[in-house]
Symmetry: C2
DNA sequence: CTGAAAGCGCTTACAG
DNA sequence: CTGAAAGCGCTTACAG
């Protein structure tokens, strides 16, 4: 992909003398006041200082380009003002949107969000948690990739509040903010039944490392019986082996080629919807004739011919809520209340892919 | 979107005594050694310690759950091991992929990436830069939202290397890693001409705050003349007002409704491609009859009926390269060499949307 | 309203 | 191979 070309230009930087950052001491001396006063000026205690002193400090600080060293600050003060976010797959639109919400909530609170991506690798998850701990983040929101690790408990035991996103952790009971998976599956089934689909295939990524995938699948299986519907399910990794998916879908659709109208595919998340749609397009299946529905809204859902029906998660809100829950925990009085579960309802976007012939 | 339900469970946390983090002093006392030795143990100077001492430190550290405080470390040692990344739009797939590449490169170097999103808001950009400066990040890679700010120069003057991503900054000459915009436009025009399109409309988001948009548009305008092609261009924000886009496209297509075959739309980036495709679908235009091509590859590009032709950027590589360039600058001997420009070629994915009738 | 002093948790000469 | 001591840049009682 890459021929590389180097072009050399001239440096027009106004100031090439690379000054080293000014310290509080320098400002104090320059202004002829004590470090204490400078510290007060920058720690929201300005009102205690005489107008004259405020003037001088401001002038010196500006001239020297002083910025309080946040590292030193948190070392002494005890607050890092940092929140950690650990996501399993940064390239998943769900993660991005949650992150966007979380970041906004942080900013409103004067906090910063440090985002770590694990690519669903428990080792990376461990490393990133250790890292966050070493920076003494004040809290962590995590979309866990694997089992609860030592690092996680270490963090918890050292008093750092933890909020789970989307996925629970076995044997580890903490606050969680997530989609109400049972309601989502029920809503999907309600809709598919309303539209006349009777024979369903649920497609999911492997459920072992993600409780939400597990929960959705289980509910699907259970409701199949409860509703007396025909149905199968399929769990497979969405890697390169696209033909596995093609074959499985073909097998599902094959038996009675002429009664397709009652068959529908339900996709467990956005990635699955992408892969399944691709497979259906490859097999030239007309959407709607075979129903197609997916959990997670996608930017292109309305662009594929009759439109793809989705169940949208309130991603932005999930991110914001996670941060707010963290803040709650951070307040001393709420440290030890029992774990909370905050579950959100999915919203249906009905489109052509669930409108039979 | 959101009914909220609260469910309360029991806490099964193994250890509810919220211990406070152990310090180097505690480990030293517990192991009966000096702080110096403990410090050495955790700073890669283990080999200097006698086996017995290593044993005892290890045992004590494990038992106490000791983790060096990275804040204290960087305060004294001078290295924060943090790299800042400032992106203009975190929800743009381009940003995500670049970030993914950058993060990997950082991890390989034992660095951590702190990502800040500005939502294209110069104020947020300023705040985030100040924040990164206050944490004494060792370098910054930035997809700048606006003009070079004070904060940016402050960072540069304090000796923090800066790498621009995708967008240059007027009057501010720094290393940049980006797409070769001229080559990309040329490649697009070559392809469109080869396919028989002669009348072009270039669609872009507003060019004022993003040099890459500006560069692409300028090259388009210039090549139009050089190649003696018919063409127009359109710059508009991709907000709610979809009808503006619809009207502009309709106007472009209207004049000679029967000779559509020679008309094509070229989209300046992935967001534009999404908006334009949506508009075309709304207007029931058949892709290919009207050519459609976009800069930036998209996950759904091959799913829209005949497939959408794109010019892919090597996003992952751009991210990695940015970090590597930063590392170069960090090495003392390379501090003052002139700014480098590393430009990558786009790769063509030819699909049905540029295959006339 | 202001400041001197102690100390946050670490690293790094320096000395042995 | 090991440690005492100074100091990184800040905040926070404490005293005036």
């Amino acid at each position: 992909m890459g021929t590389v070309s180097f072009n050399v230009g001239n440096c027009m930087c106004a100031d090439t003398t690379s000054t080293t950052q000014a310290t509080i001491l320098q400002v104090a001396q320059d202004a002829g006041v004590s470090k204490t006063s400078v510290s007060r000026y920058f720690s929201g205690e300005r009102y205690r200082l005489s107008p004259g002193m405020q003037q001088r400090i401001k002038a010196s600080a500006t001239r020297l380009g002083y910025r309080p060293n946040q590292m030193a600050r948190s070392l002494k003060g005890g607050r890092s003002r940092l929140i950690g976010m650990v996501v399993a797959d940064i390239r998943n639109p769900f993660s991005i949107d949650v992150m966007h919400g979380a970041e906004q909530a942080c900013r409103e609170q004067g906090l910063s969000l440090v985002v770590c991506n694990t690519d669903n690798d428990p080792n990376q998850e461990r490393d990133h948690l250790a890292l966050l701990a070493s920076y003494r983040v004040e809290g962590v929101i995590i979309n866990a990739a694997g089992q609860p690790s030592q690092e996680l408990s270490a963090l918890a035991n050292q008093g750092t509040p933890l909020i789970l996103l989307d996925r629970t952790l076995s044997d580890y009971d903490a606050d969680i903010v997530a989609l109400d998976n049972r309601q989502a599956i029920d809503a999907a089934l309600d809709h598919l039944q309303d539209q006349g689909y009777r024979d369903l295939l649920y497609v999911s990524e492997p459920t072992s490392q993600a409780s939400s995938r597990q929960a959705r699948l289980e509910r699907f299986q259970q409701q199949l019986k409860a509703r007396n519907l025909l149905g199968k399910w399929l769990c497979l990794p969405l890697g390169q082996e696209a033909h596995h998916l093609d074959e499985a879908i073909a097998a599902f659709l094959a038996p009675e080629a002429d009664t397709h109208a009652t068959k529908a595919l339900l996709c467990g998340n956005g990635n699955v919807t992408l892969a399944v749609t691709r497979s259906l397009v490859r097999q030239q299946v007309r959407l709607g004739d075979v129903g197609l529905m997916g959990i997670d809204e996608l930017p292109w859902a309305d662009l594929i011919d009759p439109g793809i029906t989705t169940l949208a998660q309130p991603t932005d809100i999930i991110g914001r809520t996670a941060i707010h829950s963290l803040l709650q925990r951070l307040q001393a009085r709420d440290r030890d209340s029992p774990p909370r579960q905050i579950l959100y309802q999915a919203r249906l976007h009905a489109r052509g892919s669930t409108r039979p012939g």
